[in-house]
Amino acid sequence: MSEAATTLAGARKGRPSILRRWVGQALARNLSCLVVPGPEVALAHGLDLAAADMRIAATPRDATVLLIVGELSQKLDEATAVLYAQMPRPRAILVLGGSAPSSLPQADVSADLSQTELMEAATRLQRLLAEGAFAASPDDFDSSILQTKTEYVCPMHPEVVEDEPGSCPKCGMDLVAREAGGDSDAGEHDENRGHEHHEHHHDHKHESEGHDHHHAHHNDHGQSHERHHGHHQNHKHAHDHEQHQGDDDHEHAHCHEHEDHQGQDHGHQQEPAQEQSGTEYICPMHPEVVRSEPGRCPKCGMDLEPHKPGEDESVKEDVSEHDHEHHHDHSGHDHDGHDHSDHDHDHDHDHDHDHDHDHDSSGFMSMVEVTKDLPRSADGLAMDWLEVPFGPCFPGLPGGLKLTLTLDGDGVTEGQATSLVAMNTSSEEVAVETFIERLAAAMPLAPVSYRLLACRAIEQAAGLEPDPAVERGRAAALERERIASHLGWLAQLGRQLSFVWLTRRAAALQLETQRADREQLVALRPALQSLIARLEHTPLLKARLKGIGALPHGSQDLRGTVARASGRTEDARQADAMYRELGFEMRAESAGDAWARLRQRHVEIMTSLDLVEVAGDPELPKLRAIDNPSGTGEATVETPRGRATLRLTQERGQVVSVELDSACSQHIGLVADLVEGQELGDALVAVGSLDLSPWEVTS
């Protein structure tokens, strides 16, 4: 190993000392990993992180190692850069079975996707951390994804936005610095929402600002760049810098600059009140009633309140900003949170002034006025609505899925889900064998099902009749994958609900199931039965899931387990003669809620086990010899998440066109209705219960 390779790219600044050596060794023996896209993907690849002495971290803040499993899509790559920037140094990057993401520094350790490689990589990583956690001059991490801009706005006239500091052309006040992408261009965002192709991605305003890897929304930072900030370009700050408390760690001078901005903010808040004079009297309930003299409101008879016009305006401005935020600016930043609290500060400020006046006169603090234009919740309370992103690497949701929820306190007013790893079926011509491999690799949560789907479609296009012997082995492999997949879902449910026992047990069984032959699977039956029996009698679990995420009966959009849990008899296996031969019998729950989905998955685990027992040893689908390499074929497979249909055309051994219809493409559209009006925890449970695989969403 070369000299250079003994230091981490994400080392922390510091000269080697005995204490730092100890710290490095402690870090090496305490590897906490942020898994991208998610722990469920690592499990689906058969990786046992615990066996490699790695702990799964819930947030980037808590992680030492960024563990990347497989190839990342462009969007996920960008999101990962933001996650990485949020990890405290010393930090390391471990890439398994893929190329290092382009927006990140080179991987400290790379290896193939297998347990032995993982174990070996963990050892190498431990050595690196023990020796190279601290460096005299560590590399800065900088990426275009993390850049942001500053623009200057007039505190009184939100429409005034300049690139340079100066004074407002309308009122002459000093302009105030803020990050680009504030409320003024909210309308524009709106128009651009949904387009993913903007060149400027700055969302990480946070990062920008204090370099401190800002706030909370880690997990998703990545995403917010749907925002388009084409203009207002001023300062570009690169970040990755953190505000450190100790001075030995200052990597950057930017922090100070940012603090300056904040200072300016505060400064400006005071100005309006000072500049204004001439008191008006307004009704606290009817803002349109404004008089120059004290008196009573002609509409409600309340005492009019003294008010300085400037203040009034500033309140209104605040409120209108809120409005923007809540109604237009759904682009998912965290900085919504910030803005929000900034506004709060503003409000406080205004309250203070009200107070002053009020002490002089009526003693009434006009909460009504301050909140008059805020959106109302179902309970009539006016609250700040925050748009908060969950994902694409959120501990309670499948990796690659980004859920954007508008939070009203702890309730969800609206939400939508998007996949950052959606499959793109408009690919170029590829050889049939390559196509099969690619399709299987593109679906890390159900590779066998999609391999089978591709094989069947190609064989059908070639005019081959199904061979019963081959089909039995394939069916067994498919059913084995279904068991493993449902167990993976249970482990994910455990992570979502902090149900540690379930996560451990289900993950262990999933790993055992993945490569088991018929004998081994049959031997697992008692373990599976006891897991299921125990779950159905776990206190609190039923209360947690019952009635959550209920879907209408018989909806045409539903497929697979989700459909069967709603009482819809929808199963591609029913039409399969071979399954009838194996004695397949479909069973369905009827309640259609998260609890019914859990029970349905339990039932299906046992049904699949019965099928494997009859069908024999699982055999991975392999393309049979085909004579006629041209034609059009269509195949349907009941994947663990529901029916998937693949139509393809091949010419001379090349796949020329593909059309994939999968269950998750349908189910992801259900999210908006499921989360609306729910409490946050219930909304996440509802989304989780759909068992979405964002890879199986077709774009």
Binding site: R55, H215, S341, R504
Partner: protein
Amino acid sequence: MTVALVLLTLLVGAWLLAVIEAWLTTGRLRPVAPLLAGLSHLGRESILARKPDRLFFETAPVLLLVVAVLGAAVLPLAPDLVIADLATGALFLNAVLAYVLVSLIMAGWGPNGAYAMVGGWRFLGQLIAYSMLIVMPITATAMRAESLLNSAIVESQAGLWNIVYQPLGFVLFFIAAIALAFRSPFDLPTAPGELAGGVDAEYTGVRLAVLRLARLVMVITLSAATTVFFLGGWQGPLLPPWAWSLIKTLAVAVSMLLVGFYLPRIREADLLGWCWKLGIPLALLNILIVGLLILVVP
């Protein structure tokens, strides 16, 4: 001397608890793991969130630790082993626990992030509800002891521990203790799968080390309180009094961990609904029953 012993007990308890917790989660028993974790936190960057409320952000972890230690200060581990056997000890404990709320609201507000904020406010409802289930069972134990002195409450259990005398009170207190320590299944303020760490989410480095330590010490303190109020405190045959206190405290702490290990997180609505509609009436019933017992049984 007493102070040093109590602090040492808390630290040792926290360490044991961390070992057992890691054992449950990873399946490996590694006694040095908590020390390594602590050391590695010290070596990592302590990031300050963007535009934080610095005072709140910095104070919250320390306040939580102070609260946990203050609570332990009034709990007698042996007849003479108590930092302050206040005449209002039982009440003092309850008063101190109210500051857990203050700490969490500060931790939620401080970092200026949505996850933390939701976590902090969630705890507001949780603490207000469940501190009722702390104070009402304590009231019943104080009624029996006819004193708010914690050592007198222990001595009142010489013949029969309160867990037998007032089992309902014990169950309610035990549940409320888990809720106040916001451990699973009551970990709504941190909720890894819902809020990605919630109030913990923005802390790194030394601050996170303090926060983690504070949470462990909190469990030890509440377990020690359970021991004092319901398990006869230091009383027991053969072993010295401090040993009995330690054994009982650890047993309660481990059972709190086990409850969390085998249960999913409770729903927010159920958390509050069950407490106000079921827990508090039961706590009142407990007081009534204990009152009747005191009157009827001499």
